[in-house]
């Protein structure tokens, strides 16, 4: 209860702009030229001193990227506007990675200070990685977790220090030929997180990664792999922001989760890219027997997001949940959703998707529920609610069901509503301005999502919503 109170306190103390839109002067160790060639891919791999198999993987992926067509769905117009030749594919911001903030170059440290990362780390996180452009510039993990054998590091260090584990799982969930952007990521990936939680270990407070793009026309391609061993638990949170530029940047991540039997992974994203960032991300999890995977996915920023977190329910009694919100303002299209693939019997999935569009923004829910032929006693529930704040915004739902067995229980429900005049009048008659009233209605609409966030993130999310609502009425 006090949580909500402080949320509202925060809501009332806010400025009016995207406050993460600032940028730093570039002072980099290495910046690739624009465009993508096999030479750049080789250079990235060499600079990282990677094993030969990874270089070969990258070059094969690059060939796939050249060959694969653009998706013919989502927002094809915006997709085809991407100028791959204009992007910087690799930027190394500093020589070494800090494990202490004082080891991080001053300018970059200041940026993360402004983003509140060190403060959050002190208060409520078990570990942090901070990625700036292509590389993780800072990482830390609580000592006691390290002693228990928990690995939380950047993906590059993961490859160097735990090559066997990486080689065993890397690209097994999302192969390089999965889609054009997975191919691209596989070719030029850099940074991201590598997490391994040993059997039975419960990481009681969250691990966080923060991704920051600074340069104009930057391409950020982090790669994350999380392995929860049997009976373990981990909650991983990622946040992302970028400066406001007049031309576009590209963020294209690949995230693979492996939830071994009886484990539980929760993966929370608060995506708040500036409106010049394309966010084209492939996220997929395998949940083995009795395992549970949750994607808690918040999409507030970016120009175009196309992201459909997937869970393959591989073993009996595996459970999958996707809880997502999307917010689209002017010049934004959030094409987001979820995929649930019931491979085994007695599996269940829940999708709750909530979206808000305003000022001509567009949200789409795109989802798949697939049940394999021999999967018995499968339960799936999909609920999509869209809220439109005006007459010029748009929301669409594209659900797909592929059910190959009779013994299933599938529910699908979709609603589209508008913020009602009566709701606004009711709140205004109790003293709230039109903007405050709208923010309250919107916060309430997102509440099923917000309540799943750690308090600090819930506060931040409500604050962002409040910001977005200013001037949205009247």
């Amino acid at each position: 209860m006090s949580a909500e109170i402080s949320t509202m306190d925060n809501l009332n103390q806010i400025g009016t702009d995207y406050k993460y839109g600032f940028s730093d002067v570039e002072n980099y160790i290495f910046k690739s030229g624009r465009g993508l060639t096999p030479e750049i891919v080789t250079k990235i791999s060499n600079m990282k001193n990677e094993p030969q198999w990874m270089l070969e993987f990258r070059l094969k992926a690059l060939a796939l990227f050249y060959k694969k067509p653009m998706p013919t769905w989502g927002n094809t117009k915006l997709l085809n506007d991407i100028d791959f030749a204009n992007i910087f594919y690799y930027i190394k911001p500093s020589e070494k990675q800090g494990t202490n903030w004082s080891d991080v170059p001053e300018g970059i440290k200041n940026t993360f200070d402004r983003l509140g990362i060190p403060e959050a780390e002190r208060k409520f996180l078990a570990g942090v990685t901070a990625q700036y452009e292509s590389e993780v510039v800072y990482h830390s993990i609580r000592e006691d977790l390290e002693k228990l054998g928990v690995i939380f590091t950047d993906m590059d260090s993961g490859l160097r220090e735990h090559e066997d584990l990486v080689r065993k799982y890397f690209a097994t969930i999302i192969p390089a030929n999965d889609n054009k952007f997975a191919s691209l990521n596989s070719a030029v990936w850099s940074g991201g997180s590598f997490v391994y939680v040993p059997p039975g270990v419960k990481v009681d407070i969250p691990l966080q990664a923060y991704f920051r793009i600074n340069a104009e026309n930057m391409g950020q391609f982090e790669r994350t792999l999380i392995i929860a061993d049997e009976g373990s638990f981990v909650h991983y949170i990622e946040g992302c922001t970028a400066p406001v530029y007049s031309s576009d940047s590209l963020h294209s991540a690949v995230v693979e989760l492996i939830a071994l039997p009886g484990s539980h992974i929760r993966y929370t994203t608060i995506q708040n890219w500036s409106k010049n960032v394309y966010n084209l991300v492939t996220k997929r999890a395998y949940a083995y027997e009795n395992a549970k995977v949750e994607w808690v996915d918040g999409n507030l920023g970016s120009k175009l997001t196309m992201k459909y977190p997937a869970i393959y329910l591989m073993g009996e009694n595996a459970r999958g949940e996707v809880l997502s919100i999307a917010f689209a303002g002017d010049d934004q299209h959030q094409d987001a959703g979820a995929k649930m693939v019931h491979v085994a019997s007695n599996t269940s999935s829940i999708v709750v998707s909530k979206s808000i569009s305003k000022n001509g923004g567009r949200t789409s829910y795109r989802g798949l529920v697939k049940v394999y032929e021999d999967a018995k006693n499968v339960k799936s529930s999909v609920k999509c609610d869209a809220l439109l704040l005006d007459d010029i915004s748009r929301s669409d739902t594209y659900p797909t069901m592929e059910i190959n067995d009779q013994d299933v229980n599938i529910e699908h429900e979709a609603t589209v509503s508008k913020v009602g005049e009566e709701q606004l009048f009711y709140l205004m008659s109790r003293g709230l301005t039109a903007d405050e009233a709208t923010a309250m209605i919107v916060n309430g609409f997102f509440e099923p999502f917000t309540k799943e966030l750690p308090l600090e993130y819930a506060v931040e999310l409500n604050r962002l919503i409040k910001l977005e609502m200013e001037g949205s009425v009247g």
């Binding site: 209860m1 009048f425 003293g431 301005t433 405050e436 309250m440 916060n443 309430g444 099923p448």
Partner: protein, 265 residues
């Protein structure tokens, strides 16, 4: 002549929704701390009057004026009117899913009183009022009017108003949908609100609630106009003779003239 001390002065008010005129020349004065009952049939325009006083954007004032403490309300938004000390208890309170009652009350109080009441201070205030209204503690963490019974909705309205302590409370059919026990509790809430100095405009079509909340003035409302004004007696006569009898201004039925009302108040 208008009474200079009046809290609310409505003068020849005409209001319409779209092309349809609903209020056709309403005049009414309410003094600080007084209790007025406005009685009328369904569809007579009672709710329109309450919405128009509160500033609902759907209703357009085409003639006349509403003055609160001497200043016209017509160009003010609903929240500005609330901040002046006017509150409306809704006939059909609106659900706000995902927003807790506590959050709603605290945000509203902060907006109206222009002071953020710390939770430590708010809690005991709430507790006392909630006991009076027979509201359970868990009520505060429920979503505003979401899945509430009729009685719970009306209790929340009165709880909210009793925290806001407005100068004028308009109660739009607060008695509708209440069983007799809930009615008594809500009526007591209204009476204590009045004792703390809030003037009441009680809109109803039954005499019933007036057994518990004693009005100084009763107005009969018909087809967008006040047709009769009197004291509490008028409500009893209405009960006896029915609205049809009062459909047209009836000098015999009226116990007081408007002029005398002003004088008395």
């Amino acid at each position: 002549m208008s009474n200079k001390n009046a809290l609310l002065i409505i003068n020849d008010l005409h209001a319409k929704i779209g092309d349809k005129t609903i209020l056709k020349g309403v005049s009414l004065e309410i003094n600080p701390g007084s209790v007025h009952a406005l009685m009328g049939r369904n569809g007579s325009g009672k709710s329109t009057l309450s919405y128009t006083i509160m500033g609902h954007p759907k209703y357009e004032v085409s003639q006349g004026d509403i003055k609160f403490e001497g200043n016209s309300l017509l160009n003010l938004s609903p929240d500005e009117r609330a901040k002046l000390g006017i509150a409306l208890s809704f006939q059909y309170p609106v659900a706000i899913p995902g927003v807790t009652v506590l959050n709603f009350l605290k945000t509203s109080l902060k907006a109206v009183l222009k002071r953020d009441i710390p939770i430590k201070e708010l809690r005991p205030m709430l507790k006392a009022k909630m006991q009076e209204l027979e509201i359970k503690d868990e009520f505060l963490s429920r979503y505003v009017n979401d899945g509430f019974s009729g009685g719970e909705k009306k209790k929340l309205e009165i709880l909210h108003l009793s925290l806001l302590k407005p100068k004028l409370a308009i109660l739009d059919e607060t008695d509708s949908g209440l069983d007799i026990d809930a009615l008594k509790v809500v009526a007591n809430g209204i009476t204590s609100l009045n004792k703390e100095g809030t003037a009441i405009l009680l809109i109803t079509h039954y005499q019933r609630i007036l057994n518990y909340v004693t009005p100084q003035f009763v107005h009969i409302f018909e087809s967008g106009e006040i047709t009769n004004t009197g004291n509490h007696e008028l409500a009893f006569k209405l009960e006896e003779f029915g609205y049809e009898y009062f459909a047209k201004a009836n000098p015999v039925a009226s116990t007081n003239s408007t002029k005398e009302v002003n004088y008395v108040s």
